[in-house]
């Protein structure tokens, strides 16, 4: 299987991180998690990340800014970013910041897994 894909989860709420990590692992993905930008960048530089899933409000940093920086950095600009938020007006801001897709909190597990699956497969197709 092509379940070798490594996905980074970035959320300031550790519970959410844990929950999504569990979901990813349950669905056969490898996962790493970070509660702030600094930790996330470290992981991104250290490992080959296939997809970033991140929250918009990160307690001190806005996820849209993080996304923008990732998309501007050559090392990370090719990594797809899936953003999520419980904030009602978040979708536009996230897509404008360069996020590849957006999903509102709370979400159905099937929905988020479908999006993750899409990004991971597409990337593998591209790579091929």
């Amino acid at each position: 299987m092509k379940k070798e894909a490594l996905i980074l989860v970035l959320d300031d709420d550790p519970d959410i991180c844990t929950m999504i990590t569990m979901m990813l692992k349950y669905n056969g993905y490898a996962a790493a998690d970070a509660n702030n930008e600094e930790d996330a960048i470290k992981i991104l530089h250290a490992k080959h990340i296939d997809l970033v899933i991140m929250d918009m409000l990160l307690s001190g940093v806005n996820g849209t800014d993080v996304c923008r920086r990732l998309k501007q950095d050559k090392k990370t600009s090719s990594i797809p970013v899936l953003m999520f938020s419980a904030h009602p007006n978040a979708k536009g801001a996230c897509l404008a910041a360069g996020a590849d897709d957006f999903i509102a909190k709370p979400f159905e597990m099937n929905d988020i897994m479908a999006k993750i699956h899409f990004f991971v497969n597409e990337k593998q197709v591209k790579q091929r």
């Binding site: 519970d15 409000l57 940093v61 159905e108």
Partner: protein
């Protein structure tokens, strides 16, 4: 030296010489010059004094003709005649004469007095003059004095005669019996024809005659002097002149005998008086005309002032009303008579303590005052007024003009406008604050939904994960270890607690807004509650290390759940806003007598000074891009503050941006 005298042959020559010498000395001692003329021989002896007097030299011989030649031409004939007469043997031979000489040497005129004696010889027909001897004295000085006196007398006489004073006397029938020269001359009467022909009554002006006669008769009866003025006709010119006539009645044995009196020409004076009188009349007329014009002008000014709707009053420097216009009188409800000349404080006693009165006193001292808006407490109206000191030619203030224009309408409408404006502003402010609140409310709703959805996301995630795992157990790869199931359920439990807390905060907010918040007070130890709360926090939050210091122990009487909520709020805030730090210090201490304080110190992002008080407002969340990224819907501190205040405590915040914050609440100590 002298020729021998031969008239006294019996006398010895020496005795005669002695006698002559004595005479000479005596005469020399006087100012008299002496002479001796021998008619027979024609020899003339002249003493030195005489020679000096007549201007002859001392030694030359003088003939009788030479002596006669110096007599003044005017006197020569008289002198010669007198001398010839004195030579008449029938006469005494003595001669006394005063005449003028023109001195031989310098022709200077001298008055001389001559006294001479002719000596005769023989008797009867044969008697003839033989010798003339005599003295001549210089009387020029005396003559001059006499002449001066004469001139002065003559002047006096002339004056008396020329003086316009008549002196007169009448008999009992008032017929003139005496009139002086002046009077006669005036009437052109000769002295000679007799006064009885002079009927002075004919000379009195026909308009005066009856009056004069009445007065005279009356005063004759009452034995008193009279004084009257009348016109008398000049006999030469026929012109009447004014006279002041004064008369005193005379009596003899109590019977009236007439008047004696004077009449003084006062015509010129009278004319001058008349002229003056005319001039005065003329001037008076001019003045009257001037006054009439002034009055007209004053009336005009008064009409103008009266027609003005403004209040115009003129005061003197003693604050008395000098002039006042109709509008002012109308306002006072008084007549001019009731006001003019009275002090303003007597007319309107309540003026005394007003600014208007103060202004008046200041204007009297010379200040020009203009109040754009002056509110009179007396009339309860607004005025624009001017107070102008009026100065005379010497720059002294003699009055103050006060003009006041009633601006009440304008002011009132301006005030109304201002009020309306303020009202409008208030509505705008309200609208604005409403908008602000709406914005805050929208933000609140957005954040609230975010805050509520976050734990729900967790719960939903775990629940779906668990459900999925249970339903798809056949797939070997998709299994959840019991450990994972447990940790998932623990997470769900924490998130439910979090949700519950959020929901109760919302409920509290609603209770505070509707005023239905009720406290369930009980006695408990604040220190113990702090321990329990921190344990709870640590159960759901492992990221921070919390140090607890009990500097003071105390019981409080309070709603334990609510105070716990405040503590949780402080602690979760401290955790939330210090992501870069892991240390939190909690201290319980005595903040005042009978007061315990609970404070939470973090080392996080801190709060701007100008935002420190706003954070207790409802829906308020710290501004700033970074701050906005923290979870929370801005009611935690608001609710905490409400709770603490309801317990009689205080909320305090100390903070420095970038260094951290200390949040403290206090509660009264409970005594058993």
């Amino acid at each position: 030296m002298t020729a021998p005298l031969t008239i006294y042959p019996t006398q010895t020559e020496s005795a005669l010489r002695e006698s002559e010498e004595r005479l000479r000395l005596a005469t020399e001692a006087t100012n008299a010059g002496t002479f001796d003329y021998n008619i027979k021989t024609g020899e003339l002896y002249c003493s030195d004094k005489l020679r000096t007097l007549c201007g002859f030299s001392k030694h030359e011989k003088i003939t009788a003709d030479e002596a006669a030649s110096i007599i003044h031409e005017d006197d020569k004939l008289n002198v010669m005649n007198a001398i010839i007469a004195s030579l008449d043997p029938a006469g005494s031979g003595e001669l006394e004469f005063e005449y003028c000489v023109a001195r031989q040497n310098d022709r200077q005129i001298k008055w001389v007095y001559l006294r001479s004696k002719v000596f005769f010889e023989g008797e009867g027909d044969k008697k003839q003059p033989v010798r003339v001897t005599g003295i001549i004295i210089d009387v020029t000085e005396r003559k001059k004095t006499e002449q001066a006196l004469q001139e002065s007398e003559s002047r006096f006489r002339t004056m008396a005669n020329e003086a316009p004073l008549f002196v007169w006397e009448t008999d009992e029938k008032l017929q003139t019996i005496f009139l002086n020269k002046t009077g006669l001359r005036y009437f052109d009467y000769d002295e000679k024809p007799g006064l009885n022909k002079l009927s002075w009554k004919n000379y009195i002006h026909p308009d005066d005659i009856d009056r004069v006669l009445d007065i005279m008769k009356h005063h004759a009866q009452i034995h008193q002097s009279y004084s009257l003025e009348m016109r008398l006709k000049n006999g030469l010119t026929g012109q009447y002149r004014w006279f002041l006539d004064k008369g005193s009645p005379k009596y003899k044995d109590e019977i009236f005998t007439g008047f004696i009196g004077t009449s003084l020409d006062i015509h010129d004076r009278k004319e001058a008086e008349k002229e003056l009188e005319n001039k005065v009349k003329e001037r008076t007329k001019e003045l009257d005309e001037h006054n009439r014009l002034m009055k007209k002008q004053n009336d005009l000014i008064k009409k103008i002032l009266d027609s003005s709707i403004d209040l115009i009053v003129v005061y003197d420097t003693e604050t008395r009303v000098i002039s006042i216009n109709e509008s002012s009188l109308e306002l006072l409800g008084m007549t001019e008579e009731q006001v003019i000349g009275k002090k303003i404080t007597d007319v309107i006693p309540q003026m005394k303590d007003t600014k208007g009165y103060e202004d008046l006193l200041r204007a009297i001292k010379g200040e020009t005052i203009h109040n754009e808006v002056y509110f009179s407490s007396v009339t309860a109206r607004y005025y624009e007024n001017f107070l102008v000191p009026l100065r005379d030619d010497n720059d002294n203030i003699y009055a103050v003009l006060v003009m006041a224009h009633d601006n009440t309408g304008l002011i009132t409408s301006a005030e109304n406008l201002k009020l309306k404006n303020e009202e409008l502003q208030r509505s705008l402010d309200l609208l604005h604050s409403q908008e602000l609140r709406d914005e805050q409310k929208n933000n609140f709703i957005a954040m609230a939904s975010h805050e509520l959805k976050t734990p729900i996301t967790s719960i939903k995630g775990y629940v779906q994960l668990l459900l999925n795992a249970l339903s798809k157990e056949k797939d070997e790869n998709k299994v959840l270890s019991p450990l994972l199931v447990r940790s998932s359920l623990i997470s769900v439990d924490k998130q439910v607690t979090r949700l519950t807390r959020l929901i109760s905060e919302l409920l509290d907010l609603s209770k505070i807004e509707t005023g239905t918040l009720e406290l369930r007070k009980e006695k408990f130890s604040l220190n113990e509650l702090a321990i329990e709360t921190i344990e709870d926090i640590l159960y759901t939050n492992a990221s921070h290390h919390i140090n607890l210091y009990h500097d003071f122990h105390s019981y409080v009487y309070a709603d334990k759940d609510r105070i716990g909520q405040v503590m949780i709020n402080f602690l979760t805030n401290a955790i939330k806003y210090s992501p870069a730090s892991t240390r939190i210090d909690v201290t319980l201490f005595q903040s005042a007598k009978d007061e315990i304080a609970f404070s939470v110190k973090d080392f996080g992002i801190g709060i701007d000074k100008d935002e420190q008080q706003k954070i207790f407002e409802r829906f308020y969340r710290a501004k700033g891009k970074e701050e906005q990224t923290y979870p929370g819907f801005g009611i935690g501190l608001f609710i905490a503050n409400e709770f603490v205040q309801k317990h009689g405590g205080r909320m305090l915040v100390e903070s420095e941006k970038g260094k951290g914050s200390i949040f403290t609440f206090t509660l009264p100590v409970y005594f058993n």
